[in-house]
């Protein structure tokens, strides 16, 4: 199989998951698209990379790093600032509507979590990764993953007091 075909296949397999991961960090569909696009282009230029069965983990790590770079960037801070001060009223109205949909409310609560517990929650519950896989991906001890999961769940419980969500209360 030619390199070009391999690359096409790679994109076909991994794009969706990388896009979801980028969204968990950036909370913005357009930015998530741009980040995944950058990841693939960077990967395409790294011709020295050889597949040793770690392709998925490698691409996920690249995506996470790009997302974290973005979160530290001035562009992101500017967007956050504008969001905070210019769309406050609009958000309140939207929140009221979203409350009618428990699932949307849960999504919103997850995305509002601080980054570290959010990472643990989304990888464990949404991407169905094991504690060990999360620990390897984030390069942290398994114990740390567990404590972040615990903290994430506690924060979600506070956020979602009036909702009974089986994963959180019985997981």
């Amino acid at each position: 199989m030619a390199d070009h075909e391999k690359f096409e296949q790679l994109m076909a397999i991994h794009t969706e998951q990388l896009f979801r991961i980028a969204y968990y960090y950036t909370k913005d569909l357009q930015i998530a698209e741009d980040i995944v696009q950058d990841v693939f282009i960077k990967f395409y230029h790294q011709k020295h990379y050889e597949e040793r069965g770690e392709m998925k983990a490698y691409l996920v790590r690249m995506t996470i790093n790009k997302c974290k770079d973005y979160l530290k960037s001035w562009a992101y801070r500017k967007i956050t600032f504008q969001h905070k001060f210019f769309t406050k009223q609009k958000l309140i109205l939207q929140d009221t509507l979203i409350r009618q949909d428990e699932q949307a409310l849960l999504d919103d609560a997850i995305l509002r979590l601080p980054l570290k517990p959010r990472e643990a929650i989304v990888y464990f519950y949404l991407e169905e990764m094991t504690i060990k896989e999360i620990a390897e991906l984030l390069a942290i001890p398994e114990g740390t993953v567990k404590s972040r999961l615990k903290k994430g769940k506690e924060l979600l419980k506070v956020e979602l007091q009036h909702i009974e969500w089986e994963v959180l209360f019985h997981g």
């Binding site: 096409e8 994109m11 076909a12 794009t15 969706e16 896009f19 979801r20 969204y23 569909l29 998530a32 698209e33 995944v36 696009q37 693939f40 282009i41 395409y44 230029h45 949909d101 699932q103 949307a104 849960l106 999504d107 997850i110 995305l111 519950y125 949404l126 169905e128 089986e166 994963v167 997981g171």
Partner: protein
């Protein structure tokens, strides 16, 4: 437990298509991009190398550094100046205390001056690129005396210093210097101008008029005009043939002062004619003497 998927991420096929489409587009442009990046890299490398070469060149040929190299010390002057004579003190400028650097001198040795243009040229040649002797025809007056002096001394810091005075004079029959130009060059261990800051207050208080007319784009050339009502001394070497001794002639003069490549240049002149015209000619001669341009 069922897998939870965020509502907004339940169908991401449109995003997936968009991403793949954009990546394909980018990759199609990749050869052009790679070529331009390569050009940028080459240009950046060239600029970096040029800057490094310039810095290396500057480091190899210091123009105005604080500490000069020992190569500023001329070692072969005794080949020409073989007759040691009596003497006392050293020549300096009264207006610039900086020029008084030789006052620290110990164990000063004086030599009988060498007469004639040929002797001057020989000494100038031995100093290599330090001095560039002016053809007497280019001088603004007709000298009847052309001589070169040498005075060497041990400095307080242990360095050895030699001072050469290239003199063109119109001497009267009674021995008075009617007109003169003295080009004095002294090797120094430190640049005395490095810490020199022209003080406007000092100039106003003392009535001095010191201006920097510039030796080249990096180094200053200070000029002080002789003022008839002010008695700032200009001291240069003269020779008493009868007593076989060097003495200091104290007078007033227009003065140039500069530092270049480990040497202090002090040029004093007293000439007839329009002061402005003479000053302009002398500025050219001073630069020529130092830089050889």
């Amino acid at each position: 437990m069922d897998k939870h998927t965020m509502q907004v991420l339940q169908d991401v096929s449109a995003h997936k298509e968009a991403i793949i489409h954009k990546v394909r587009q980018q990759i199609q442009h990749e050869p052009v991009m790679a070529k331009s990046k390569w050009i940028y890299r080459v240009v950046t490398m060239m600029i970096t190398c040029s800057i490094l070469l310039f810095i290396a060149w500057q480091a190899a040929k210091p123009m105005d550094e604080l500490v000069t190299q020992d190569e500023g010390e001329p070692p072969t002057f005794t080949k020409f100046f073989q007759t040691e004579v009596e003497g006392k003190d050293t020549a300096y400028s009264n207006f610039l205390p900086l020029a008084n650097y030789l006052s620290q001198a110990k164990h000063i040795q004086y030599y009988a001056p060498l007469q004639g243009l040929e002797a001057m040229q020989s000494v100038a040649t031995s100093l290599e690129d330090v001095v560039h002797l002016t053809d007497p025809e280019n001088l603004p007056f007709q000298p009847n005396i052309q001589e070169v002096y040498a005075v060497s001394a041990q400095m307080e810091d242990g360095s050895k210093q030699t001072q050469f005075q290239f003199s063109f004079k119109e001497k009267s029959s009674t021995g008075v210097d009617l007109q003169f130009i003295n080009f004095t060059v002294t090797n120094v261990k430190y640049n005395p101008l490095a810490s020199y800051v022209k003080s406007k207050n000092m100039e106003e208080t003392l009535g001095m008029n010191v201006s920097n007319i510039g030796l080249n784009f990096m180094n200053p050339l200070y000029y002080r005009e002789m003022l008839p009502e002010r008695g700032y001394l200009y001291i240069y070497y003269n020779y008493d043939e009868a007593d076989k001794r060097i003495y200091q002639m104290a007078t007033r003069a227009n003065e140039f002062y500069s530092y270049y490549n480990g040497y202090v240049y002090h040029i004093g002149y007293q000439l007839d004619g329009d002061p402005q015209e003479v000053q302009e000619k002398m500025a050219i001669l001073a630069r020529d003497f130092i830089l050889g341009e």
